[in-house]
C-alpha cells in the first residue's frame, strides 16, 4: 500500500463517511419520539417537507437579485458606464444622474422577478398547506396535518384520489395484495396507472437513490385501511421530504431559447457599438484638432483644479470616454427590457385568443417559452407526428378478420363516418339532457355496432374455438385496468400540473424534460442488509409484478362476490393506449367482458354469462423492438398455459408456426395478410392477434429463465426482452383487427392552409407506410395526382445509383413530388455521405412522409433539415415519442391530447388541437413577428435619431461632450416620453387583420426567411435616423445661428422636434390605430410638456430655468418645430407612399382589401383564391411529362400513383 499522509487519510475517511451517508439513509420512526424537543428528534437532520421554489427571500432579495442580474452582459455594460461617470476627468453627466438608467432597468427587472417569485411563493404556500393524514401516537389515529409539517419518519395515510405529499415508502395498502396504483402524470406526464407494492416489513432502511412514490402522484386504491392494530404502522413512511423529493431534485434551471430575430438583433447591436466607437473617435479626434488650432489659451478653457491644462492629446483621450457616456443610448440597452415586455404582452394576447380555446378540454393555449413568439412567424418546415396530432388518437374499431374471414362491420363504419357534425350535435344534445356528468365518456369509441354475421358466428358456437379465442385474446391480452365507474379516477393531473409548473415557473421545460428522462429509469428499491425485506419483492416495478404474486394470489380469493353485482355497463377501462381500449370495448360488445384485472388474474365474462378467471402467469409488456405484447395465462378449465400475443402485423407474421402441409393455416395467414393490406390502405391501424398453447414443461423451463432475467442486475432489460422473444415463437394466428384513428377536426384544411403559407409539412410517424400514405391523402398532404416516390430499403440501391441523374434540377420541373421514406431507409439516408443528397431531394418535394421512424430519428431529421437548410422548424406532437423532436426543433408545439403530458411539458407552446396551429402561426406568428421586427427597428432608429442630435452638437461645442439638453430631461426622454409608444406598438399593432391572414395564407411568406427585419431595413432606418437628426439639428441651427440664444433655449426646440419626429415616425409606422394608440401617443406628448415645464419651474439650480416657458411664448419655437418635423418626416412618408402605391407586395394588397366592406372583401378573397387555384392547376398540367431521368427513377423505385 503506498504511503499516505495522515491528512489524506483523514480526508479519505471523511469522504467515505459522507458517501455512506449519501448511499444509505437510516430512518427511525418518529412515533416514539413524538412530543419530544426538537433536538431529540432522530430525524431532525432531515429537512422538512415544505417546498420552497422561490429564488429569493425577503431579506436578501436585493443583493441576490442584483447578483443575478449582473450576470447579464448588457447590465454590466451599463454599470461600467455609470462607474466611468465617477471618474472626474471623464464625467459627462453628474454621476448620480448617470446611475438612473441602470437603476431603472435593474428596478424594472427586479420588480418583474419579485412578482414572479411572489407567485411562486403563493403557489408554494398553497401546496404546503394541503392537508394530509399523519399518524400520531398520542391520539392513536391519523391526524390532519399540512404538507409542510410532514417530517421524515412520519407515517402518512393516503386515500384514494389523494395527492401524495412526499416521496413515500409504501408500507401497506387496503388491497389484500398490497398493491396500489398511482398516476405519475405530474412527474413524467404518463397518465396511465402504475402499480406499486407495499413493503412487507416495518423496520426499514432505504437507500437515498431509491424511490417509491413521488410527490403529486395519485394513489388510487380503495381507502387505505388501518383497522388491524398491527397494521397501523404499515402506512406510508415518509422518507424523502420537500426539497429532497425526486420532483424537486430534478428541478433545474430554465431552458433558454433564443429566437432568430434576437440573434440578428445582437448582430445589429454590434453594428451599433461600432457606430458608437466611430462617433466617439471622431469626437475625440475633433477635440484634439480643435485644441491644436488655438493660438493660445482662451478664456473659456477651464484648467484643472491645480491650474494646469491637459495636453490636447490627453484631453482628447479623456473625451473619448466622455463621448461614450454621452452617446451611450445609441446602444439600446432598454431595448432588451422592452422586448421582454412586448413579448409578455404578445403572449397575453395569444393565450387569450378564443379561437385557440378548446371547449371540450377547457384548455387554452399554453405558452411555455416566453421569448420565441416571433419565431412563430418565420416557420418554414413543420414536422408533425401523425397519431394524436393529425388524428384524434381515439381509436374506433372498424374491421376484423378472424381465421381468414373478413367481417367488415359496415354499419359501424357508416355510423362513424356519417356526418360528424350531426353526430356531434346529437351527442351534445344528450350531454345537455343528462347534464353531461353521467354520460359515459368516449361515446363514439365505446359503442361498437356489431356485425351481424360475426355475431351469429359467435352465438352459434359454444365451444372454445378460434372465434372465442380471438375475443378472449382481445379481452385478456392488454394492460387495461378495470375500475368501477363510481370509483372513477379523478382527474387532478391537469390542474395540478399547471400548478406544479407554476411553482417551477421559471423552468417548466427543463424540469419536466428531465423528468421524462428520469421516468425511464425508475430506480429499484434496493433493500439494505438490515431490512427484513426480500430483494425480490422490491425489485418489482411494472412488468415484474407477477413474479412473486404467483404464489400469493392463488391463496387469495378474488372478490367474486362484488364483481357480478356491478353491471357490465358500469365498467370503466383505463388503458395505456387507445388501441387497447378500443379492442377491449369491442370484446365487450361481443359479450366478452373484461371484468377485473389484478396482477395475478384476469376475469372475463363470457357471452353465456359465465365468468372465467384466468390466472396470469406473466405479462410480456410491449416494447418498440419487439413491437408486440403477450400475456401468459392459465386457462381455468383446461388448465392449459396459453400465450396470447398481440402486435404489429409484420412482427406477428414472422413468428407464425410454419406448419408442414397444414394448408389451412397457410391460407389463413395469406388471407389475413390480404385483409391487412386492405386495412392499411384504408388508413386503419392493424394489429394481429395470435395465440400459442404451451405445455407445462415448456412453461416451467422458460419460467426459470425468466426469473433469472428479472433478477439480473446487469443488462436486465436486454435479458427480459430476450426471454420474451424466446417464448413468442410458433404462434398460431387468430386474426387481425383494423382500428381507425380518425382525423382531427379540419386537419386537411389546416394542412392545406399551412402549405399555401409556404410551409413544408413533413409527417414523421411510427406507423407503417401504407397507413401513413393513406392518412397523408386523407389530410391532403398528398394530392391525388402527386408523384409519390416511395423509398424503402429494397430499392435503395437503385436509388443510390440513380441519385446522380435524378438531380434536383430535373426534379424541380415537377412541383408535386412527395416522398415516402421508411425508417430503415432513413437511417441510410442520414449517413454522412448521403445526407446532403437527401436534403437536396427533400427540399424539392412537396411533402415528405417518414414512416416507422423512432423518436431519435425524428429528432435527427429535424436537426438535419434545420442545420442543412438553415430554416426555421417547428415540430408538433403529442406523445412521449415526440419529445426528442419537439426539443430539437426551433419551436416545439405539444398537443395536449390523449397521450399524456410529456410532449406538452417539453414544448414551447401547448395547444389542444392541430387546427389551432393555423391561427397560431398564420395570425399570431405573423403578428408577433411583424410587430416585434418593426418595434426593434423602430427602437434602433429612435435611439439613433435622438443621440445623433448630441453628436451634431459636438461640432459646435469643440467636441467637449457637452449636451444642449439637461441630463435629467435626456434620461426622461428615453425612459418616460418615448418608451411606452414602441412597446404598445410591439404589442398591439396589426398590419393585416386576422381574417385576411387566415383567408390569404400567402401573407405568411413575408415573415419567412429574412422577413421584415433584415440588414436592409435596419440600415435604412439608421440612415433615416441620421437624416432626421440632421434636419432636427440644422434647421434650428440655421434659424438661431448668430442670435443670442442660450444653450438650453436652443436645446428645447431640438428636443421637442426630436420627440415629435420620433412619435410621428411611429404614427406613420402604426398600421392600425385604436383608441389605445391615440391615448398613449397623446399621453407621451402631454407628459413631455408637463414634465419639462414642471422641471423648468421647480429646479432653480437648473441653468435652463424657465426655458421651455420662454420658448413656448415665442412663435418662432412653433414655426421651427413645425418645419423641422415636416422636413424630417417627409422622406419616410414618401417612402411609405411609394412603397404602397408602386410596389404591390401581398401585404399591401391585403391591407387594401382590409379596408373594404367585409362582404366585398370575402368576395375578393374568393376570387383571389380561385384565380390562384387555376394557375396552380395549369402549372401542374403543363409539367406532367417528367424528365427522362425521373422516369428512370420511377422505373426503379416503386411508384405509388393512386
Amino acid at each position: 500500500m503506498p504511503w499516505m499522509s495522515p491528512l489524506a487519510r483523514i480526508r479519505d475517511a471523511l469522504a467515505g463517511q459522507r458517501a455512506r451517508d449519501k448511499d444509505l439513509r437510516n430512518l427511525v420512526s418518529n412515533l416514539p419520539y413524538e412530543g419530544l424537543d426538537k433536538w431529540k428528534q432522530p430525524n431532525r437532520h432531515f429537512r422538512n417537507n415544505g417546498i420552497k421554489t422561490t429564488k429569493y427571500s425577503v431579506l436578501f432579495f436585493i443583493p441576490m437579485n442584483l447578483f443575478e442580474q449582473f450576470h447579464r452582459l448588457a447590465n454590466l455594460y451599463f454599470v461600467g458606464l455609470a462607474i466611468l461617470n465617477f471618474v472626474p476627468v471623464v464625467q459627462a453627466f453628474e454621476p448620480e444622474v448617470a446611475l438612473i438608467p441602470i437603476c431603472v432597468i435593474l428596478a424594472l427587472t427586479a420588480i418583474k422577478d419579485a412578482w414572479e417569485d411572489f407567485r411562486r411563493y403563493k403557489s408554494d404556500k398553497k401546496l404546503n398547506r394541503l392537508p394530509c393524514f399523519v399518524y400520531s401516537s398520542k391520539e392513536k389515529c391519523f391526524v390532519e396535518k399540512r404538507w409542510k409539517d410532514v417530517r421524515v419518519g412520519d407515517f402518512v395515510k393516503v386515500e384514494s384520489n389523494d395527492i401524495v405529499p412526499a416521496d413515500l415508502l409504501l408500507l401497506y395498502t387496503s388491497d389484500p395484495n398490497g398493491v396500489c396504483h398511482i398516476e405519475t402524470a405530474n412527474l413524467d406526464g404518463e397518465t396511465n396507472l402504475k402499480q406499486r407494492r407495499a413493503v412487507p416489513g416495518v423496520c426499514i432502511t432505504v437507500s437515498n437513490t431509491d424511490i417509491l412514490l413521488i410527490i403529486h402522484a395519485v394513489i388510487r386504491t380503495g381507502c387505505l385501511g388501518f383497522s388491524h392494530p398491527d397494521l397501523v404502522l404499515k402506512q406510508h413512511l415518509v422518507y424523502l421530504k420537500g426539497h429532497e423529493t425526486k420532483a424537486m431534485l430534478n428541478n433545474n434551471g430554465p431552458r433558454y431559447k433564443r429566437s432568430r430575430l434576437e440573434r440578428r438583433l445582437n448582430i445589429d447591436v454590434i453594428f451599433c457599438i461600432l457606430l458608437l466607437f466611430t462617433m466617439c473617435i471622431i469626437g475625440s479626434l475633433g477635440h484634439y484638432l480643435w485644441l491644436e488650432s488655438m493660438p493660445s489659451v482662451p478664456l473659456y478653457l477651464v484648467p484643472q483644479t491645480d491650474g494646469h491644462l491637459d495636453t490636447p492629446s490627453l484631453s482628447s483621450f479623456y473625451k473619448f470616454f466622455s463621448m461614450i457616456i454621452l452617446l451611450q443610448v445609441l446602444i439600446p440597452i432598454s431595448l432588451y427590457v422592452s422586448i421582454e415586455l412586448v413579448k409578455i404582452g404578445q403572449i397575453y394576447f395569444i393565450t387569450n385568443d378564443l379561437d385557440l380555446y378548446d371547449e371540450e378540454t377547457d384548455a387554452t393555449i399554453q405558452c411555455k417559452a416566453l421569448n420565441i413568439t416571433e419565431d412563430l412567424g418565420q416557420i418554414q418546415y413543420i414536422f408533425s407526428d401523425k397519431t394524436g396530432t393529425l388524428t384524434e388518437n381515439k381509436m374506433v374499431f372498424r374491421r376484423c378478420s378472424i381465421m381468414g374471414r373478413e367481417y367488415p362491420h359496415k354499419e359501424n363504419g357508416m355510423f362513424l363516418c356519417g356526418p360528424k357534425r350531426a353526430l356531434k350535435m346529437y351527442i351534445y344534445k344528450i350531454k345537455i339532457l343528462m347534464f353531461t356528468k353521467s354520460l359515459p365518456p368516449n361515446q363514439q369509441e365505446t359503442e361498437v355496432i356489431l356485425d351481424q354475421k360475426l355475431l351469429r358466428q359467435i352465438r352459434g358456437t359454444e365451444k372454445i374455438d378460434a372465434y372465442q379465442d380471438f375475443f378472449l385474446a382481445l379481452a385478456i391480452c392488454n394492460t387495461v385496468v378495470v375500475s368501477m365507474a363510481t370509483a372513477k379516477r379523478l382527474r387532478v393531473s391537469a390542474r395540478l400540473t399547471a400548478e406544479f409548473q407554476q411553482t417551477n415557473q421559471s423552468n417548466p421545460l427543463d424540469t419536466l424534460s428531465s423528468l421524462v428522462r428520469r421516468a425511464g429509469s425508475w430506480t429499484r428499491l434496493r433493500a439494505p442488509i438490515t431490512s427484513e425485506t426480500s430483494a425480490n419483492d422490491l425489485t418489482t416495478q411494472g412488468q415484474s409484478v407477477n413474479q412473486t404474486g404467483g404464489q400469493t394470489c392463488s391463496l387469495h380469493v378474488p372478490p367474486q362476490g362484488t364483481a357480478p353485482a356491478v353491471p357490465a355497463g358500469k365498467l370503466c377501462y383505463e388503458a395505456e393506449s387507445p388501441d387497447e381500449a378500443a379492442l377491449v370495448h369491442t370484446a365487450k360488445a361481443y359479450g366478452f367482458v373484461l371484468m377485473s384485472r389484478t396482477p395475478d388474474s384476469v376475469t372475463v365474462q363470457l357471452p353465456s354469462g359465465a365468468q372465467l378467471r384466468f390466472e396470469v402467469l406473466d405479462t410480456l409488456s410491449f416494447d418498440s423492438n419487439r413491437k408486440r405484447m403477450s400475456v401468459l395465462v392459465r386457462h381455468p378449465i383446461s388448465k392449459q398455459c396459453i400465450l396470447y400475443t398481440k402486435g404489429a402485423d409484420y412482427a406477428i407474421m414472422e413468428l407464425l408456426e410454419t406448419p408442414y402441409g397444414e394448408k389451412q393455416q397457410k391460407a389463413i395467414a395469406s388471407d389475413t395478410q390480404q385483409h391487412l393490406d386492405c386495412y392499411a390502405k384504408e388508413g386503419l391501424r392493424t394489429l394481429c392477434i395470435a395465440k400459442k398453447v404451451l405445455c407445462d414443461g415448456e412453461y416451467e423451463s422458460w419460467a426459470v429463465q425468466r426469473q433469472h432475467a428479472l433478477a439480473a442486475m446487469d443488462n436486465r432489460e436486454q435479458l427480459i426482452m430476450d426471454s420474451a422473444v424466446q417464448i413468442e415463437t410458433n404462434l398460431c394466428l387468430l386474426g387481425a383487427t383494423g382500428v381507425e384513428d380518425r382525423l382531427q377536426d379540419s386537419v386537411p384544411d389546416t394542412v392545406m392552409t399551412l402549405r399555401e403559407a409556404g410551409i413544408q409539412v413533413w409527417v414523421l410517424t411510427g406507423d407503417k407506410p401504407e397507413t401513413a400514405v393513406n392518412i397523408g391523402y386523407a389530410c391532403r398532404l398528398l394530392e391525388q395526382d402527386d408523384l409519390v416516390i416511395n423509398m424503402s430499403c429494397k430499392n435503395l440501391c437503385y436509388w443510390e445509383k440513380q441519385s446522380c441523374s435524378a438531380d434536383p434540377r430535373n426534379v424541380d420541373t415537377t412541383p408535386d413530388i412527395s416522398l415516402v421514406i421508411d425508417g430503415r431507409t432513413l437511417t441510410m439516408l442520414m449517413s454522412p455521405d448521403l445526407r446532403d443528397r437527401f436534403v437536396d431531394l427533400a427540399r424539392h418535394c412537396r411533402s415528405v412522409l417518414c414512416c416507422r421512424v423512432t423518436p431519435l430519428q425524428k429528432s435527427e431529421v429535424v436537426k438535419l433539415i434545420r442545420e442543412k437548410l438553415k430554416v426555421m422548424t417547428l415540430a408538433v406532437g403529442d406523445g412521449a415519442n415526440d419529445v426528442n423532436m419537439i426539443q430539437a426543433a426551433d419551436i416545439g408545439v405539444g398537443i395536449s391530447g390523449q397521450e399524456g403530458m410529456q410532449a406538452v411539458m417539453a414544448s414551447d407552446f401547448a395547444i389542444s388541437r392541430f387546427k389551432h396551429l393555423k391561427k397560431l402561426l398564420l395570425v399570431h406568428g405573423h403578428w408577433c413577428y411583424s410587430r416585434l421586427a418593426n418595434m426593434i427597428i423602430y427602437f434602433f432608429y429612435k435611439n439613433a435619431a435622438n443621440v445623433n442630435l448630441l453628436f451634431w452638437y459636438q461640432f459646435f461645442c469643440g467636441f467637449t461632450a457637452n449636451a444642449m439638453i439637461d441630463h435629467w430631461l435626456m434620461i426622461f426622454f428615453n425612459l418616460l416620453f418615448t418608451s411606452v409608444p414602441p412597446i404598445m406598438f410591439g404589442i398591439m399593432d396589426k398590419d393585416v387583420s386576422a381574417e385576411m391572414l387566415l383567408g390569404l395564407p400567402e401573407l405568411y411568406r413575408t415573415g419567412q426567411g429574412k422577413g421584415e427585419y433584415s440588414f436592409f431595413t435596419f440600415w435604412i432606418s439608421m440612415l433615416d435616423a441620421f437624416y432626421q437628426s440632421l434636419v432636427a439639428f440644422f434647421i434650428p441651427y440655421f434659424t438661431y445661428r448668430g442670435s443670442d440664444i442660450d444653450i438650453y433655449a436652443f436645446g428645447t426646440p431640438l428636443n421637442t422636434i426630436s420627440l415629435f419626429t420620433i412619435l410621428l415616425h411611429l404614427s406613420i409606422e402604426i398600421k392600425a390605430w385604436t383608441i389605445v394608440h391615440v391615448f398613449i401617443i397623446l399621453g407621451s406628448v402631454t407628459l413631455y410638456f408637463i414634465v419639462t415645464l414642471a422641471y423648468g419651474v421647480r429646479y432653480l439650480n437648473y441653468s435652463g430655468y424657465w426655458t421651455l416657458q420662454a420658448q413656448m411664448v415665442d412663435p418662432m419655437f412653433y414655426l421651427v418645430c413645425l418645419i423641422s418635423t415636416v422636413i424630417a418626416l417627409l422622406p419616410r412618408y414618401l417612402f411609405h407612399v411609394l412603397k404602397n402605391s408602386i410596389t404591390c407586395s401581398p401585404i399591401v394588397e391585403a391591407r387594401h382589401l382590409d379596408t373594404l366592406e367585409p362582404s366585398t372583401r370575402d368576395q375578393w378573397i374568393k376570387e383571389w383564391r380561385s384565380f390562384r387555384g387555376r394557375v396552380q392547376d395549369k402549372t401542374s398540367d403543363v409539367s406532367v411529362p417528367p424528365s427522362p431521368s425521373l422516369e428512370n427513377l420511377q422505373d426503379d423505385t416503386k411508384q405509388v400513383k393512386l
Binding site: 478653457l301 477651464v302 387497447e580 461645442c957 467637449t960 448668430g1042 392600425a1072 390605430w1073 414655426l1119
Partner: protein, 354 residues
C-alpha cells in the same frame, strides 16, 4: 406502448375532490373573455398611405407653408440690422492698438472710437448687442463652471462654492463670488454710442441697461445674498473673480437694483450661448415719444473701452444694432425654408395626381 389514459379527457370536467384542496374548488372555465381588447378586435382605423390619399395632404401643407414662409421672409427683411466689427485685427482699425497692447494688468483702460454711418433710420426700439465669434461658451467644463445656488443668494454656497467652480472657486483662501469660469470671463467692454449731427456735435445716445435680462432670471433665479441690504457687507469675506477689476457689488454702484448678482449684464452673460458665434443683448435704445426715429440715419461714433481680449482664441468682437420683430432678429433662413418646402409640397401635391 405509449402511455396514456383512455378516459382521461372527458373527466377533466369532473375535477373536484383532491384538487379541491388546492383551492380550485369551484370549477372555473379557462375560456378567455370575449372582449374586443383581449381578442384584439378593438375598432381600428387603418390608414394606408398611398399617392391618392396622401398627395392632397401635401397640397394642403404647401398651401399653409408658403404664406407662412412669405410672412417670415417679409418680416425678416423689414428688420433693420447694423453690425460693426471692432476687434482691431486689421491695422487700419482704430482699435488695432488696443487689441495689440492688451494687458489685463494695465490700469488705464484703452479706448478707441469707430465711425459708422446708418443708411436708414431705425424705427421703434433698437437693441444693441455685442457679438463674439469663436467663443465657446458651450464648452463642457465652462458651462458647468458655476454655482447656481450661490447665484440664487444661498449663504452657505456663498461661503462654500460648489466644486464645479474649480479652479475659480477660491482666491487667496477666500471664496470667489460669483465663482466659476463663466463669471470669471465676464464680458467687460464698455460701449458708448454717439450720434454725430450734421453740424458735427456728438450727442450721446441714451442706452437703457435695464430689461435686457429675462424677467425670471432677474427676479427669481438670481438673488443677492440675503441678510443685508448693503451689498458690501453681504459679500464680505468673499473675493472677486480673478479676472475682474472690481468686485461683484460694484458692478453698478449707481443702482442697487442692478448690482451684485442681479446685475443684468452679468445675468445676460451667465446665460451661456448655445453656439460659438453669438450675440448678447447689451443695451436698449428706447423709442422716442416724438415721431423722429429712434436712430435717425446719419453718422455715428462708437466708443469702446477695450478690456476684453479675444485674439488669444482668434475671436472677433462686434457691436450690433437691430430693430426687432415678433420673430426676433433678422434671419431670412426660416422664411426661405418655409417657402421652399411649401413649394415642393405644393407641386408634389398638385402635379402628381394629374
Amino acid at each position: 406502448m405509449m402511455a396514456s389514459s383512455y378516459n382521461a379527457k372527458e373527466e377533466d370536467g369532473h375535477h373536484s375532490g383532491a384538487a379541491g384542496h388546492g383551492g380550485a374548488g369551484a370549477v372555473k372555465s379557462r375560456k378567455p373573455d370575449n372582449t374586443a381588447f383581449k381578442q384584439q378586435r378593438l375598432p381600428a382605423w387603418q390608414p394606408i398611405l398611398t399617392a391618392g390619399t396622401v398627395l392632397p395632404a401635401f397640397f394642403v401643407i404647401g398651401l399653409i407653408f408658403i404664406p407662412i414662409g412669405i410672412g417670415l421672409y417679409v418680416t425678416s427683411n423689414n428688420i433693420k440690422e447694423f453690425e460693426i466689427d471692432y476687434t482691431g485685427v486689421d491695422s487700419n482699425s482704430p482699435c488695432y492698438s488696443c487689441a495689440r497692447n492688451f494687458s489685463s494688468n494695465s490700469t488705464t483702460p484703452c479706448t478707441c472710437s469707430l465711425n459708422f454711418t446708418l443708411e436708414q433710420p431705425f424705427e421703434s426700439n433698437v437693441f444693441m448687442y455685442y457679438g463674439l465669434s469663436n467663443f465657446y461658451q458651450n464648452h463642457r467644463r465652462y458651462v458647468k463652471s458655476r454655482d447656481d445656488s450661490q447665484l440664487n443668494g444661498d449663504l452657505s454656497s456663498l461661503k462654500e462654492p460648489s466644486k464645479e467652480c474649480e479652479p475659480y472657486r477660491t482666491s487667496e483662501s477666500f471664496p470667489i463670488a460669483p465663482c466659476g469660469a463663466i463669471a470669471n470671463s465676464l464680458f467687460n467692454d464698455t460701449l458708448e454710442l454717439y450720434y454725430v449731427e450734421s453740424n458735427g456735435t456728438r450727442n450721446l445716445v441714451p442706452l437703457v441697461k435695464k430689461g435686457i435680462a429675462w424677467w425670471t432670471d432677474k427676479h427669481v433665479k438670481f438673488r443677492n445674498p440675503s441678510g443685508n441690504s448693503n451689498l458690501t457687507i453681504a459679500f464680505q469675506g468673499t473675493s472677486k473673480p480673478v479676472n475682474w477689476r472690481k468686485p461683484v457689488f460694484e458692478l453698478d454702484p449707481l443702482d442697487s437694483e442692478n448690482n451684485g448678482f442681479i446685475n443684468e449684464d452679468f445675468i445676460v452673460w451667465m446665460r451661456t450661448a448655445a453656439l460659438p458665434t453669438f450675440r448678447k443683448l447689451y443695451r436698449i435704445i428706447q423709442k422716442k415719444p416724438s415721431t423722429t426715429p429712434t436712430l435717425p440715419s446719419g453718422r455715428y461714433i462708437l466708443t469702446v473701452t477695450y478690456n476684453y481680449p479675444v485674439l488669444s482664441f482668434d475671436g472677433r468682437k462686434r457691436m450690433i444694432l437691430s430693430t426687432i420683430s415678433w420673430m426676433g432678429g433678422k434671419n431670412p433662413f426660416l422664411g426661405i425654408a418655409y417657402i421652399t418646402v411649401g413649394s415642393i409640397c405644393f407641386f408634389l401635391g398638385a402635379d402628381i395626381p394629374n
